[in-house]
Symmetry: C2
Subunit: 305 residues, 2 copies
């Protein structure tokens, strides 16, 4: 099964604590790296992942609040020092553009690569990026400023060849890719062997959804229906529901309700308020609604299966 990993670099909320960095994640999909949000310290936390800077091609920013973007200046500068020449593509709300322009104009005049910013319409659930191996969709969120989450879905792979059948029929190498693509095989005596006998089905398509920062959004469970892994913010416990509503956030229970309604495989909660020295209160409230929930933590790496 090809790589589809989620690295948590930061899962705190706006106020820094001794335990959590602000929001930042890296998705490794078939050795291509995508960053989601880039809070202060992102480049410092990156050093602990062992990932290559050069494989980072895309950054997706949910919204223009400092705890989701203040790592960008350092990241952009450092990749220049590291000798980057490949373009860096940043997707985010339009409000982010002046900050990126300011950083580039004041600190990165000698950049050896281009930073390409593309504004996202955060009010639409739409395809914002795709390549051969994945699609990235925006997920409209309900926060105090324009904000969207992201759904990353790998594209279906090809079926797997059944090596013993290939050997049995003495099928030459040149025919393998045709069979994987759905062509049947005709033997020397004219027998047609359907490709389904020569292959096993492709791996199931995996998907990852990121929802932070947001109050509950009615359509979310439909948009993230059945995803392999859902990261949902759970800034507060239920006792702080009033704060959650005031500041445009979710409680752990509300996060779990999305996971339950969407029938996701696993839920990971994060964006913890600095008030919690121990997030087990959040975990407990989420697990009461959706059992397969875990807590995000820095240096955690999850393999999507």
């Amino acid at each position: 099964m090809q790589t589809f990993d989620l690295h948590i670099l930061g899962c705190g909320s706006a106020l820094p604590t001794r335990r959590h960095l602000p929001s930042c994640q890296v998705v490794n999909l078939r050795d291509k790296l995508l960053m989601i949000d880039c809070g202060e310290g992102a480049q410092l936390a990156w050093r602990h992942t062992g990932l290559s800077w050069m494989k980072l091609g895309y950054i997706f920013i949910s919204h223009a609040h400092g705890d989701h973007v203040f790592g960008l200046p350092g990241l952009i500068s450092t990749m220049c020092l590291m000798g980057r020449t490949a373009p860096l593509h940043i997707f985010g709300p339009a409000a982010l553009r002046p900050f990126i322009q300011c950083v580039l104009a004041n600190f990165c005049r000698d950049l050896d690569y281009t930073v390409d910013f593309q504004a996202i319409d955060t009010t639409r659930h739409a395809l914002v990026f795709e390549d051969r191996s994945m699609e990235v969709w925006s997920l409209p969120l309900n926060h105090r400023v324009p904000c969207c989450g992201f759904l990353i879905r790998e594209k279906a792979g090809l079926p797997h060849i059944r090596r013993e059948m290939i050997d049995f029929y003495e099928i030459p190498t040149w025919a393998i890719n045709r069979i994987k693509s759905g062509e049947d095989w005709t033997t020397a005596d004219g027998t047609v062997v359907p490709y389904t006998r020569l292959t096993t089905p492709a791996d199931p398509v995996r998907s990852y959804a990121y929802c932070s920062d947001t109050m509950p959004v009615a359509q979310m469970s439909e948009w993230v229906s059945g995803v392999t892994l859902l990261y949902h913010e759970a800034t507060y416990a239920d006792s702080e529901l009033a704060f959650a509503e005031k500041y445009g956030h979710s409680t752990a229970r509300q996060a779990a309700e999305v996971a339950h309604a969407a029938g996701v495989q696993q839920l990971i909660i994060g964006h913890f308020s600095a008030r919690y020295d121990d997030e087990r209160v959040l975990l407990g409230e989420a697990q009461a609604v959706f059992a397969n929930t875990i807590l995000a933590d820095e240096r955690l790496c999850l393999h999507l299966k």
Copy 2:
């Protein structure tokens, strides 16, 4: 003796490592906090000092390179979240102004305090700030962009009262401050007791000088002559002298030569290049010239005596 502490929050150079954060220091002088440089992660490192945000009134920035300023956005935002209302004064080269304006305009529209930026002429050795207890002087440095260090000198305190003499002459409380200020005491029988008999001298004046980033500057040893503690950048070992000259930095030996020529009490070197896994090579080269040299390190706190 009143507090005069140096807290090292970051002492790496531009490239982040697993061991060092970019440049940031906090000076605690009689419970007033001054920050010097503010690299990414400053607010995160601050949490480990146990210092109060509210006592930070002044930030001095040496130059507008990212590894010395990218912590400002997060720091400014966080102090707003923490309920700050007192003005924050930032001193630095004029090139810093558009970055601060951009951060304030895009992320801090609801700030409950003012951020007052004052441009420093980095080419002059001049007084840039003073209050009742200290003076801060600029130290022109020689880097690739306008850059200056800072000399923080406490003002002379008053002499200490000799309690046993006060008791002996039965001097009333109201006279104490006059005596401290240099007035003699006349007893009931008309005997004049010189104030020098009633006091011991004030504590010696302490001073701290910060020099980063820079190539050697001819007049520096004169400007920082006899300081209690000198922080001097030592980005490279002697074997990388060519890099030091190319990028406008100093070697550990050059840092120690300043300390030696200036007759400082102690030298602390920092701004280590990411190439050194072990900075003892830098320490050795510095100590060969100036024995009382130590290595900077995150979470180090030095008490000036």
